[in-house]
Symmetry: C2
Subunit: 267 residues, 2 copies
């Protein structure tokens, strides 16, 4: 396979250009393109350029509003709430970020919520920005349901990641985790299916809820939580923080992230 090397700044510039060409404002495109660049820099392929086609398609179909201005509110002394108004999550976060940092510094802690946005792609992208301000960042989000509860066969939760970024003395990221609360990302099962490989027990169940090592049966069925009921507990924690507290859609009601047509994702 031939390898080509692309500079990170070129990735950002080309991504920004593509987003603008499909209807995003310069401001919104810059914000999303930065997230794509960071994902590529961290070798996070799923959240990088791989997502760009989907972003563009959804801008084109107006499923994502590429030029909307997010609305930043302060519902209480120590909370900042951003209504993304069915736009991208990255510019919505950027809109409230400085106020959230100031609020956390002034009060010791801040509840910072983004409502009614498209997917956040990588949670760590957001919590790492918090750590770079010298603050401890913990984040959670929901995603379309694909994880069934222990013993069940009906998906109730998304992969619902939780991330944490810890600042270093010089306001960089000392330590970070960014992990789904499912046993594995669904992409790994898709890869196994296309390679004709089996998957380990504990990743998924078939549509009857029986453990399976067949990736095709897993894709018809549902994923399992990491560590069984414990991961399901953490998935519920993400669900309550990211959906119930924001008034956005819960995992069971969230439509697939990459489909082009339909109502906004409202996450």
């Amino acid at each position: 396979m031939n390898k080509i090397t692309v500079k990170l700044e070129d990735i950002k510039a080309q991504t920004q250009k593509a987003l603008v060409n499909h209807g995003a404002s310069e401001r919104v495109a810059e914000s999303v393109a930065e997230a794509v660049k960071v994902a590529e820099a961290e070798n996070n392929k799923v959240c990088g350029l791989y997502y760009l086609e989907s972003y563009c398609n959804q801008l084109k179909s107006n499923r994502v509003d590429g030029s909307v201005m997010s609305e930043v509110k302060k519902p209480s002394n120590s909370s900042v709430y951003v209504d993304a108004k069915n736009g991208f999550a990255q510019p919505a976060f950027a809109a409230g970020f400085e106020m959230a940092v100031r609020t956390a510094r002034e009060n010791g802690i801040c509840l910072f919520t983004i409502a009614h946005s498209h997917t956040c792609t990588s949670m760590g992208f957001f919590t790492s920005q918090i750590a770079k301000k010298g603050l401890l960042g913990i984040g959670a989000t929901v995603a379309p349901a694909c994880v069934s509860p222990p013993g069940g066969n009906k998906p109730l939760l998304g992969t619902n990641p939780i991330s944490m970024s810890v600042p270093s003395k010089n306001n960089d990221v000392a330590f970070q985790f960014d992990q789904s609360t499912s046993a594995i990302a669904i992409g790994k099962i898709r890869m196994a299916a296309s390679n004709g490989e089996s998957i380990p027990e504990g990743w998924a169940v078939d549509k009857e809820g029986k453990p399976t090592t067949d990736p095709n049966k897993a894709l018809e069925g549902s994923l399992l939580s990491s560590g069984g009921y414990k991961g399901f507990g953490f998935g519920l924690m993400a669900e309550l923080l990211a959906s119930a507290l924001t008034g956005s859609l819960s995992s069971v009601n969230a439509p697939p992230l990459k489909t082009t047509e339909g109502a906004p994702h409202d996450l």
Copy 2:
């Protein structure tokens, strides 16, 4: 086996009496006895009467100060910090609780930390009280190190539980989880050892860090995190929130919880 039935109020009264007889003040004893009663009501044997002997022994040896007054501080608008001064965790929590609830209601969120206390026993005991005030409670604590990182053989984290309690409309607990971030509680491995049973793979490693199904080798070695590296991530989250943020001991420095002699546990 003969069964006897004991009323919950009798459990509380006798527990309180025993604690006072071993040196606790009435106020402190009432607070700890309530936690024992609630644990027994919830069939949480490990955190109920089973712990009382240890509490009494540690009062007797002065390892736990049974009559100290916790100091409540408000380091910032939205945080309440209680220095338990090497006393029990339950009266320290009680000392700051009303202020923490008021702070959360006024500001939207409150960071409520208890420092320099004896073990909290059950985290859910605390977060459930938060839910009964109509607030969402999330709690974490550290414990003496017994969990090694994925691929390692040196315990770095404790079982480090995280709990969440969600209020119902009528200010009761609608939903709660209270779970260690290790694959299993160490008590389950001790039980398997004394019953001559094997343990499932994934619970523990031997002292060389090799997976084991022999509970005796597991007890010489270390536990594993729930779901591998993901549970270890959540264990680190508990570690940072409960130890680094409070200035209490980290898991690697925490002495065994039930030993009678030694410096205070300082959790």
